[in-house]
């Protein structure tokens, strides 16, 4: 079904909410170790695609594969245990818990990669903690963190579970250019270390900094796919997404 080295694949994934088509015939192949950005205008189906990938919604049709295993009917927590980590578009760190508690919760999810969290995952987690400056804030309630650090906390939290693939839904929303650059640097480092990353993002500058390949979603379907240069040079993409003639 999916090619060698493919970590995550979807085939003809479709989801409707009532009469609204959220995704239609979405087929993707994310290679192991890839850093893929998914872009598209509002309502293109990006967040729905993520919700389908991690099991929040069940597709009406189509299949999802993780490491060639069909996970379409698996509940969310089982997909996480297969190595999927996800951050939400709206920050969902546990605001009433402190940083330490937030980071400890994912450690020990029964049967997850965490139990045998590899030295590599441990290194990635430690790296993120120190670069994000969360090390010295362990007893700080999450609700007292500034916005960008709350975003970083959620990424670190997911990393503490030792995922093999990171799905990030607009990780830099609301961040300053410096914070965005910092986030991009961390993601690139993690990707260089072998972590597969898929990012949904609006910020083209950020996409330019990190993406190896870009998928453009439009009206629930894959509209174009290629390198960032190919995508930004694509006339139709410029028209629908970048608002240029």
């Amino acid at each position: 079904m999916n090619g060698a080295g493919t970590y995550l694949a979807t085939r003809d994934l479709a989801k409707r909410f009532g009469g609204i088509v959220a995704t239609e015939q979405v087929s993707l192949d994310i290679a192991e170790g890839e850093l893929r950005c998914i872009i598209g205008p509002n309502g293109a189906g990006k967040s729905t695609l993520f919700a389908l990938l991690c099991g929040i919604h069940r597709p009406d049709s189509g299949r999802i594969f993780i490491k060639e295993q069909d996970v379409t009917s698996l509940p969310s927590f089982r997909r996480v245990r297969l190595g999927v980590g996800l951050t939400f578009q709206t920050n969902r760190a546990f605001h009433d818990l402190n940083v330490r508690q937030n980071l400890e919760v994912p450690m020990g999810a029964t049967g997850s990669a965490t139990h045998s969290r590899s030295a590599r995952s441990e290194d990635r987690y430690r790296y993120a903690l120190s670069v994000f400056g969360l090390d010295g804030l362990r007893e700080t309630p999450a609700r007292e963190l500034p916005h960008h650090q709350l975003q970083w906390l959620e990424i670190a939290m997911v990393l503490s579970g030792g995922p093999d693939i990171l799905l990030l839904d607009e990780p830099t929303a609301g961040m300053s250019p410096e914070e965005t650059t910092q986030t991009a640097r961390v993601l690139q480092h993690l990707n260089d270390d072998g972590l597969t990353i898929v990012v949904v993002e609006h910020d083209i500058a950020f996409v330019r900094q990190v993406a190896q390949r870009v998928t453009v979603l439009h009206q629930g379907s894959v509209f174009a796919e290629g390198s960032i240069d190919e995508i930004t040079a694509h006339d139709d993409v410029r028209r629908i997404y970048l608002g240029q003639a």
């Binding site: 969310s76 927590f77 996480v80 020990g108 939290m157």
Partner: protein, 349 residues
């Protein structure tokens, strides 16, 4: 041992300073020594205030730490009490009947709560519906027990007794030692202290952290790899067993139980005890449960018909002025005050 100590004294409850543990030790010593100057009747009354603590601690775990409000924990209180009455009542004179009754009562709690909880949590019933379903279960139980008057409603030698309830339930007994008076007081005291420490260990364990995460955001917790349905079910069964322990103590204390023990008023009381103290702290709930039972019992036994009205009014006042619970908010204010004093002293120094 070190690990157990760390779990019992961990950060997920108020009361962590050496000063607190000193005061706690003094309180326990006082309670253990108090039969020296208390009459047997007073000790028996204190047993009553104490015996409700496991029920309240269970609800605190379930509601305050795991975010699941059950309005029907007294169902398990009643199930354990009635099953104990049936088993121990049929085995009178054997010496081991009460132990079999206790095991049977708790086993019944586990089975009923596991089956009921399975349908509630595995069906992913929305959080706001759970209190209604749990209340319905306990009211159904009350209705059923209420119509069991008549000789035909008996199990072996024991009659269920309809609204008059089951009477003549044997006290707890191990061999020839009958737990009555002071012995019952010590039995309840030891059990309640053990329940409190067990609950503290649960909330300070990794399981406890996951409970907090589920309370905060169930979807986020699930997307960190946890089967939240199984976790919620586990806490629900644990809370039901704790309610069952209180039910066992209750029937051993008064030697009777009536369907009103699983009725609407009884169902509301544990929610009030937990809300008044502060549902996010086991210690706060233990304090408020003891205090409110003392108030309720003292007012009722003095012939005051308004005991429940006063308790209800207290709930309204607490909800308005201490939304997170009196004990929790006072403890936080005290802690902040101490910090401010410490800062001021450092500045002066």
């Amino acid at each position: 041992m070190k690990r157990l100590f760390r779990l019992a004294t961990g950060p997920e409850d108020i009361g962590r300073s050496p000063g607190f543990w000193g005061a706690f030790a003094v309180l326990i010593l006082y309670l253990f020594a108090s039969p020296l100057w208390l009459g047997e009747f007073e000790a028996y009354n204190i047993s009553f205030y104490l015996l409700n603590l496991p029920l309240a601690l269970g609800l605190c775990l379930l509601w305050g730490y795991c975010g699941v409000l059950s309005f029907g924990q007294v169902a398990y209180f009643g199930i354990a009490g009635y099953v104990y009455g049936i088993i121990a009542g049929n085995l009178v004179g054997t010496g081991w009947g009460p132990i079999a009754g206790e095991l049977g009562g708790l086993a019944a709690c586990v089975v009923v709560s596991a089956v009921f909880g399975y349908f509630v949590f595995y069906a992913r019933v929305q959080a706001w519906i759970v209190p209604i379903l749990t209340l319905v279960l306990t009211l159904l139980l009350e209705t059923f027990l209420g119509q069991t008057a008549g000789y035909q409603w008996r199990v072996g030698n024991v009659q269920l007794g309809g609204y008059n309830g089951m009477t003549g339930i044997p006290s707890f007994q191990v061999g020839n030692l009958v737990f009555y008076g002071y012995a019952f007081y010590y039995f309840v005291l030891v059990a309640v202290v053990l329940c409190y420490f067990a609950c503290r260990m649960v909330v300070n364990s990794h399981f406890g952290k996951v409970m907090l995460a589920i309370r905060e955001d169930p979807l986020r917790a699930e997307l960190l790899g946890y089967d939240i349905r199984a976790r919620q079910l586990g806490v629900f069964v644990l809370a039901s067993v704790l309610a069952g322990i209180s039910g066992l103590f209750y029937v051993q204390w008064g030697n009777y139980i009536t369907p009103s023990q699983v009725g609407l008023v009884s169902a509301a009381l544990p929610v009030i005890w937990v809300a008044v103290g502060g549902r996010t702290s086991l210690l706060a709930v233990a304090i408020s449960t003891y205090a409110l039972n003392w108030v309720n019992y003292s007012l009722s036994s003095a012939g005051n018909q308004y005991a429940l009205v006063i308790i209800g009014a207290l709930l309204v006042i607490v909800m308005l002025f201490f939304p997170r619970g009196i004990v929790v908010m006072l403890a936080e204010a005290g802690f902040r005050g101490s910090l401010a004093r410490l800062r001021a002293a450092l500045r002066l120094g």
